[in-house]
Symmetry: C2
Subunit: 405 residues, 2 copies
């Protein structure tokens, strides 16, 4: 029976949060000095726990239960966005550390072990979800050569600077029974619905479409309304029609965002020559996204049919959905039930390392509540009680997965 | 009988356009070297024409018909916006020069003379319509002390650099019978309606209102639609309601522009925390602007009533209307009629030095067509035939004004 030590778990999380600490949160960009120090600390904690641990050639920290041929893989990432939270990624890794340590403490690894991984650069300082994509063979050597930070440092220079030169870790299908990732929700839903565990059914598909309207810049005082080719007014009309269509298409978990709007030249006395909007839309079901994308096209056609302004759409991002394994989801749900914890099944609206693992290995995820839904912000938080509870639920799930073999 | 020399008029305009020439247009910011050189050239041309001319302490170039106690004042400005047109402002000044010169050539100034002025800094490199506002006593010493360019140079340093230190010119009510300003239309209306002269009835009133919505930044993947406080969506709703209200309020000459829209933080995956829009609206009638401003407030209240996002409006600019003198307008219209030129009465949707003069002296304006309505652009243009025709119409008007006394 794996017994989670809640105090030790919280203590490790608090210790990790010291690396790059900023206010209540953490600023620990991939391959920054704080990140490198945090990885060294994690390597040491894994080793102290009795794991065979190393940092691989991309910076992923991997720890394996010794003397076993089969193991559940538990992990996430320990890098953060600029001014991020202390739990995003870190919690999933420290859950792995605590559960592997607790399993070794039982002295019984007959049913299999627990391996732990902190994937490199999930937040994409050099390349988005680099470690997990490499782990499943989804990164080309070309991408590794060309990857660079916004500041201009190449990934290979950064890795040399960090001294990471070991073999790059890869998924071992013969060894790994499943991949489990725990994460804070990064949204308000668990809190709003009074639940403490989210059993993730899948990571939603996402698309981004940039819509651009081309009109004509004119003096906004001297040009009669009827003679204008107003790209901004076209964008407003488009947004209204698209929003109405999205509402009628939307399923229960559909979300969308008109997150960026730019008018050019952007002056009070000049009719907008150009207006663009970036639309991001997500749903577990690709067919819903197809319908939304069609609605965007229809709304553009309606504007274009008036013959004054010309709109066009560019899909510039398309992420397929990742299905979580039903048996693993049931194991997480049952583990929550055994602890009498209110849980719900829900999709993940955000991307995670798990979405890449899920294409190659059965994968499960659980969420714990985010206070106020805050995420990618130093204000991100969860209660210690929820953090410990999540680890206990995950322990229950791991136990049943190992028992099932 | 004042006889306009069309060739000389075009030749002077082409000569002036060499100062700061860029492509088809002119880049001649106030107190730039090109502007200083252009003013020196203009001073010389005025003097050669027989005017008593000087550059005043703010850079306004003034030329007076000698030996008269009464005169019609004709002018505009010779500075330009960045990358502006060759006629905007310049044409009104060179009309003055040509008409004053042609009057002196008649040898008959018994009915009065023509004074010419190129007002300093109409385009506001240091202070908007500086010369004309100072001329009518609407600039404080405080403003003169604090005025500076975007580049950080103070007006007083720039004036020292230019060597402008003379007495600053002021309106002389005992001398000046009227102020006349000719200008390209800066809009497409004359061309669209097949007219060659616009008789300006007034310069419209204008307001600018900045509307800001405050919501909450949230992860656009993990936050259900119903739990969002989306400042951007609120702005779209507001824009739709406001546009509909504006359409029902609008009189024949009402115009408005949603020219600048900013979403913050402006990322695809973050629900907009803040969204703002700058609305500019113009009409000859202040009551129409009052109704539009009320409609803005009503639309904000509608959004606020939903209790998710809080909107607020700031009026940050309020320009009163300027009425053109009816007798002068009739004189311009009759002069056009005498030449069998198709003319229409129309308001000016753009501001001009004339709007300040009109508060203190009876004022008239005429427009000639802008090809394609282009303005504040190097592509700005008019035909030479229309330029010469405008000068002939103005000459006819001046003659009747002088005759009336």
């Amino acid at each position: 029976m794996i017994k989670v030590n809640g105090k030790r778990l919280i203590s490790d999380l608090r210790a990790l949060a010291q690396f790059g600490k900023t206010g209540h949160g953490v600023h620990r960009l991939s391959l920054s000095q704080a990140d490198i120090s945090a990885r060294a600390w994690l390597l040491q904690r894994m080793t102290e726990a009795g794991l065979e641990a190393r940092i691989d050639g991309l910076g992923s920290v991997v720890g394996q239960t010794p003397g076993v041929s089969r193991a559940v893989l538990i992990g996430s990432h320990t890098d953060t966005v600029p001014g991020g939270g202390w739990l995003d990624g870190a919690m999933g890794v420290i859950y792995g550390l605590e559960l592997a340590r607790a399993l070794l403490e039982t002295g019984d690894t007959a049913a299999g072990g627990i391996d732990v991984i902190s994937f490199a650069d999930e937040e994409g300082t050099y390349a988005n979800t680099l470690g997990s994509r490499y782990y499943v063979g989804a990164v080309t050597e070309d991408e590794l050569r060309s990857a660079a930070s916004v500041g201009g440092e190449s990934l290979s220079d950064a890795l040399k600077r960090a001294g990471y030169a070991g073999t790059r870790a890869r998924l071992d299908r013969n060894r790994h029974l499943a991949y489990l990732e725990a994460h804070i929700e990064q949204g308000p839903r668990l809190e709003a619905e009074g639940k403490r565990i989210g059993v993730v059914t899948g990571i939603v598909a996402m698309r981004r479409t940039e819509v651009v309207f081309h009109g004509q810049a004119d003096h906004a005082g001297t040009t009669p309304m009827r003679l204008r080719k107003d790209a901004g007014a076209a964008l407003f009309t488009f947004a209204k029609a698209t929003t109405a269509a999205f509402r009628s298409i939307a399923a229960s978990d559909t979300v969308w965002n008109f997150g960026r709007v730019v008018f050019e030249p952007g002056a009070g006395n000049v009719v907008p020559r150009k207006a663009s909007v970036l639309i991001e839309y997500r749903d577990p079901d690709v067919e819903v996204l197809d319908a939304m994308e069609s609605a965007i096209g229809d709304a553009i056609e309606e504007v274009n049919a008036k013959g004054k302004v010309r709109g066009e759409a560019h899909r510039n991002f398309d992420l397929p959905p990742a299905r979580m394994d039903a048996v693993l989801a049931a194991a997480i749900e049952q583990a929550a039930g055994a602890l009498h914890v209110p849980a719900i099944r829900m999709p993940s609206g955000a991307g995670h390392d798990a979405m890449h693992l899920a294409q190659h290995l059965r994968t499960g995820m659980l969420f714990i509540p985010s206070i106020g839904g805050r995420s990618h912000d130093t204000a991100e938080d969860s209660t210690e009680a929820d953090i410990v509870l999540g680890a206990n639920v995950l322990a229950g799930a791991v136990q049943s997965i190992l028992a099932a073999g």
